[in-house]
Symmetry: C3
Subunit: 159 residues, 3 copies
């Protein structure tokens, strides 16, 4: 029995989606994706293969979440959050997973990412950290910190 | 009688749309939105509830315009203009309007916003001001000024 | 005989598309566009009128490619690559091509553009150059160089 909602225009290729989760228009959820309970996935979102998303997450409109990204519980990804998984991309890439260029990215529990941020793969965004809108994240972000900018710099720590 | 055009794939939940306005593919216009005459709303645009847009505006492809944003006449929003309405977002937000974090944003008459800008809520973008592409707007922008950068800085005033 | 693939939700208004090319969901290819062989055009991409794209290119999800942009062979455009064609845009623009504000942009053979970059029109991105994610490109980029930032600055040359 179907326990989650998806808009009729969404393309959903997994059945591992938790109860109460909502998926809106023109969004593509790829094969192998796991999504927890009570999440909201906005419009025009792309979730690549095998991405794992916890409970109570909000992934806002137009966000692009690629294979190799892991999102824990209570994470907020603002509108147009752009992730990556290839550190040195090129048109000739064939199999990301066989190259050291393919790097994983972790969004830890309760972190919040402002609108239109870019996340360069290979980093961990710490628990309950807050990233300002328009930031480009190039390295690990400590838990409970606040950061912003291009490149993203920490402005307060452990507060 | 229908006086405006919308692409067959658009989702339009308001009838307050002016004559001559065009709405393109995969765009969602939410409930309570008011749009004036002779506007062009591009592809993949999201207009949130109760947004007000004047006459002769161009809102380019993939722009995200959220509740609490007010757009006057003759405004140009470049491709992928990303607005916000929650100053300190988190996945646990329930009702933006009941919190002081919800802030309004005003685009004044004739202002032009370059491509891929991010607008942090709570600001007024002044009349006929021009914002360079890729900017992150964090404070009020004076009328007739030119600005760019992350964070957006004023480079010429009243010209 | 159809030699390329397009997803059923894509809108394709040209027949000048090469063999082996794939076009994914919610993507619009405008009139007069030419696309070479073995390209991948992601989801939610917009390709404006008369754009020319070579062979073996990858244009990732949500990229916006406007009229006046020329893309050579083996080019990689990361997710949410935002191009432009009007140097000083405004809502009153009528015919870009009749104004000096309309500028062309060239992506030379084998260049790679990281995620969420903005390209201000009128520039040439040199052969096999690499642009970091989140950059705003405001001037010509030399061949074989590496660059990043807002504004985009060259960090290594001819390597």
């Amino acid at each position: 029995m179907k326990k989650y909602f998806h808009h009729e225009t969404a393309i959903v290729e997994t059945d591992q989606i938790g109860e109460g989760t909502k998926i809106w228009a023109w969004t593509h959820i790829s094969k192998g994706v796991k999504i927890g309970n009570n999440c909201v996935i906005g419009e025009g979102v792309h979730i690549g293969p095998n991405v794992e998303i916890g409970d109570n997450c909000k992934i806002q409109n137009h966000s692009l979440i690629y294979e190799g990204v892991y999102i824990k519980d209570d994470v907020f990804l603002g509108p147009n959050t752009i992730t990556t998984n290839d550190y040195i991309p090129s048109a000739s890439t064939v199999d990301f997973k066989k190259t050291p260029r393919f790097k994983k990215t972790y969004f830890e529990k309760g972190c919040s990412i402002g609108a239109n941020c870019t996340i360069i793969c290979g980093v961990t965004i710490g628990e309950k950290s807050l990233i300002g809108a328009g930031s480009v994240i190039t390295k690990n972000i400590p838990p409970f910190s606040k950061s912003f900018g291009n490149p993203c710099r920490i402005i307060t720590l452990n507060k």
